[in-house]
Symmetry: C2
Subunit: 136 residues, 2 copies
DNA sequence: TATAATTCCTATCGATTTAGTAGGATAATA
DNA sequence: TATTATCCTACTAAATCGATAGGAATTATA
């Protein structure tokens, strides 16, 4: 399951991508427009800022804005920051690899084999989809 | 994340598929061979039996056995029973559909759009992979 | 310089899910 | 009848998730 955090994060990025110009948009504005709990969204935007997707400005007229063009923001990077691993199993993850304690040999593991296929395909989609692609 | 339930279930099915003949295999045997908690595996096999993948026999010489040929068992069916929805978001699920409470229009939702792509690809893999394919 | 507006940060909480355990009921075999 | 195995229900500890609370820090503006 995709977490609400990721879902809301993508919606917020999309909202920002749709703005004309690059003026800061307040949390409150996004929260109301996208029906996202204000405080929860706050923490998500904070995390997106700390990871280089967003810039922010404090005080009156402040808010968040995209640091790159939507076409330059790949979904694979967004997913990794918000959701974590792309793979369904740690033993198949490129960026969050962990060995399975129960499995003596990955090469002959049915689950491993199947999940590698899924990861490759999913990765391909996330790599080849930018924020711009989702903003019609 | 793939649940341990699904992971163990697939491993158990693979183990059974590798057997010569169709003689019942005891829970204990699978549990030890695949390093799966005995009691947990018990509940998983029970669920696979109730959903038509396995047959069982009680008493001495009893155990579990496949009801179909491995090549006739599609991973998509296994996944749906053990893991639930294939889709990462309910509003994109074919078999477990649920509307998002926060989203006024699926057609224009970025998350929806992205997750449909992922679902289609993943579904394709699970549909075109049989238990036999995983048993080398 | 005072005030209001806004992000920043840490901590906490309730609900749900997950992985696993316990213990006995039921059925088949010898 | 004794033994072997599955069947079934209920319980539990730990982790995760979604959300909330409350105030600190910073900036714009009157």
């Amino acid at each position: 399951m995709l977490s609400k955090k990721t879902k809301y994060g993508i919606k917020a990025l999309t909202f920002l991508a749709k703005q004309e110009g690059n003026a800061p948009v307040q949390i409150e504005t996004i929260s109301k427009s996208e029906n996202i709990s204000r405080k929860f969204l706050e923490s998500i935007l904070l995390s997106l800022r700390k990871n280089g997707f967003l810039g922010s400005k404090k005080g009156k007229g402040g808010g968040y804005y995209l640091l790159k063009k939507p076409s330059e923001i790949q979904m694979v990077d967004v997913m990794r920051i918000l959701e974590g691993p792309i793979a369904m199993v740690p033993c198949v993850s490129l960026n969050f690899y962990e060995k399975c304690s129960d499995c003596p040999d990955e090469a002959s593991c049915a689950v491993h084999l199947l999940m590698v296929k899924v990861r490759d395909n999913t990765l391909d989609i996330f790599r080849n989809t930018s924020l711009a692609d989702l903003t019609n």
